[in-house]
């Protein structure tokens, strides 16, 4: 199967001399839900910009579904849908026109474009707002409008650059459902996000980019398996004693009803519960102190520095 995206030794040096990408290589398989993560300024948006032609590369090779962008950029672009980080539509135009016009730029006849625009505006809950000037839409609606616009030509590869930034929890969850459905139907998705729980929930494979270099590229499962330590927070039913100790575990009493317990790789959480029972501490709930991917991300990015 031809990979959805192949990047080989991609380099980008800006006019001022700043090297945003230092020869990165990456492959995303067809049907994947792929996370491209990194701190601000790491090179994620530059990479995406090169793929969709908004940034001119300095060197390297990019191919979308086997089509090299240097040989047939128009052919490659037909397979790409892009949802950028910033709102990039005319705020004075109406959502319906924005989506239909985008279809027109891909050569789609108006009747079909209108049909597709209706389909995606309905699916993304914007049909009632189709004739409202887009500046009147909420932030979440504007993001969904950009998704509808990116999908109107049915791209095989959808690239989303922080699609849920500034979107409320409920809306984010519904966008996750929509994207998962889209992925199950065969669209390859590349996602960049600062919400790491989002990447962990949605993506199967991941690359972490830092200072223009790929510092990690593996499956989400393998990456999380490498996490050596997790910190859990336990909420107690009754007031806790002043000192709580469980053999083999680091325990910190946060307040009269909350404990933080470190669990190293190879230790079992059952042992923690056994220790808590022994100390007659009843637990009402527990959770990770930080998202697991967040722990790993911070470690990798700090390690690279």
């Amino acid at each position: 199967m031809i990979p959805a995206l192949t990047i080989e030794n991609l380099t980008k040096q800006y006019a001022g001399g700043f090297q945003a990408l230092k020869g990165i290589s990456l492959e995303v398989q067809h049907g994947d839900f792929f996370a491209l993560l990194g701190p601000n300024g790491a090179g994620k948006s530059t990479t995406i910009g090169v793929i969709c032609s908004l940034v001119a590369k300095t060197a390297g090779k990019v191919a979308v579904y086997g089509t090299d962008i240097d040989e047939d950029f128009a052919g490659a672009k037909k397979n790409i849908g892009i949802v950028p980080q910033e709102f990039n539509f005319n705020m004075f135009e109406q959502p319906f026109d924005i989506v239909v016009n985008q279809a027109g730029y891909y050569g789609m006849p108006k009747a079909l474009a209108s049909e597709r625009a209706e389909q995606y505006l309905r699916e993304l809950g914007l049909w009632d707002k189709r004739h409202v000037p887009s500046r009147m839409l909420s932030g979440g609606m504007k993001r969904r409008l950009m998704i509808a616009r990116a999908l109107v030509h049915n791209p095989r590869l959808l690239i989303l650059d922080e699609p849920t930034a500034g979107v409320d929890i409920e809306m984010r969850r519904s966008m996750w459902d929509f994207l998962q459905k889209l992925n199950q139907e065969g669209t390859t998705i590349i996602l960049t996000t600062h919400y790491l729980e989002e990447a962990e929930a949605l993506c199967r494979n991941i690359a972490i980019i830092n200072h223009g270099e790929i510092v990690e590229n593996s499956s989400m499962r393998d990456l999380l398996r490498r996490l050596h330590r997790e910190v859990f927070i336990f909420d107690a039913v009754d007031e806790l004693p002043d000192v709580v100790e469980i053999e083999g575990f680091g325990v910190r009493r946060v307040d009269e009803r909350t404990l933080e317990i470190e669990v190293e790789k190879g230790q079992h959480i059952n042992e923690v519960f056994a220790g808590l029972s022994q100390a007659s501490i009843r637990i009402s709930s527990m959770r990770n102190r930080a998202n697991r991917l967040e722990e790993m991300f911070v470690r990798l990015v700090e390690g690279a520095q």
Partner: protein, 257 residues
């Protein structure tokens, strides 16, 4: 993209452009009608009656072709410069840049959009001028060709300005400090015969001289410059502007990082 897909893309850009300037017609179409009416009243009727004949015609008849051409030039230019810079400013130009639409279709779409506004305003101004004077058409073919060539040339110039502009000031500097002086010094209000030899020679570097005179020939049958030279010069300017605009798009200068 095959031919049909390119045609759809072109029509889409054009439809968007026309819809844009019709939506804001009070800013795009009405001002020219009012300004030209004032020119007709002040220069044509009030001052013109004291100036007397020029080139064998009443002063009003003499200035009308120049004023129509002035409206075409300013509108085709300002349509493209404001629309393309606007789309650069709000980043909606990226909608086009990420699509497979070829660069020449993008340029053609914006240029035809500018031409269509120039032509629409020309019709409006011509209708207004009929309230003040009778217009006789010496050569319809010359009028049509020169109007099309001129609006294409200045739409391209507007495109180049838009690509280089960094802010809204930059899209008004050229029209104010370059285009307007060239129009006023291009023989709209006077015949080149009135100029001393030196300034008449200098005026021949001004593309507006050829545009105004060729159009005046089409309407009145008189011109200060040879028609073939005028067509030749406008063709050269247009080809250069087209090639440079394509170069800007192909290299992504100020459009792509």
């Amino acid at each position: 993209m095959n031919f049909q897909e390119q045609w759809v893309a072109l029509v889409t850009i054009l439809r968007k452009e026309i819809k844009r300037y019709l939506r804001i017609w009070t800013q795009t179409l009405l001002p020219s009608a009012i300004t030209m009416s004032l020119y007709f009243v002040i220069f044509g009727s009030l001052i013109g009656s004291r100036i007397g004949d020029m080139g064998g015609f009443t002063y009003m008849q003499f200035v009308v072709p120049g004023l129509i051409m002035m409206a075409i030039v300013t509108n085709s230019y300002s349509n493209v410069v404001s629309s393309f810079f606007g789309s650069k400013f709000n980043h909606s130009v990226e909608e086009l840049l990420v699509s497979p639409t070829p660069n020449y279709i993008i340029l053609l779409g914006y240029v035809i959009g500018g031409v269509s506004r120039g032509l629409l305003v020309a019709v409006i101004v011509t209708l207004v001028s009929l309230f003040f004077t009778d217009l006789h058409m010496h050569s319809f073919a010359v009028v049509v060709i020169i109007v099309l060539m001129t609006s294409i040339l200045f739409a391209l110039a507007g495109f180049i300005n838009a690509v280089y502009a960094n802010n809204f000031d930059d899209i008004s500097i050229i029209p104010t400090f370059v285009l307007t002086p060239l129009i006023y010094l291009g023989g709209v209000f006077y015949s080149m015969d009135l100029l001393p030899d030196f300034w008449a020679a200098v005026s021949k570097l001004n593309p507006l001289v050829y545009v105004v005179n060729a159009f005046r020939y089409g309407v009145l049958g008189v011109s200060d410059v040879s028609l073939s030279v005028a067509f030749g010069m406008i063709t050269v300017f247009t080809v250069v502007a087209w090639c440079y605009s394509m170069h800007l798009l192909n290299t992504g200068k100020r459009l792509r990082q």
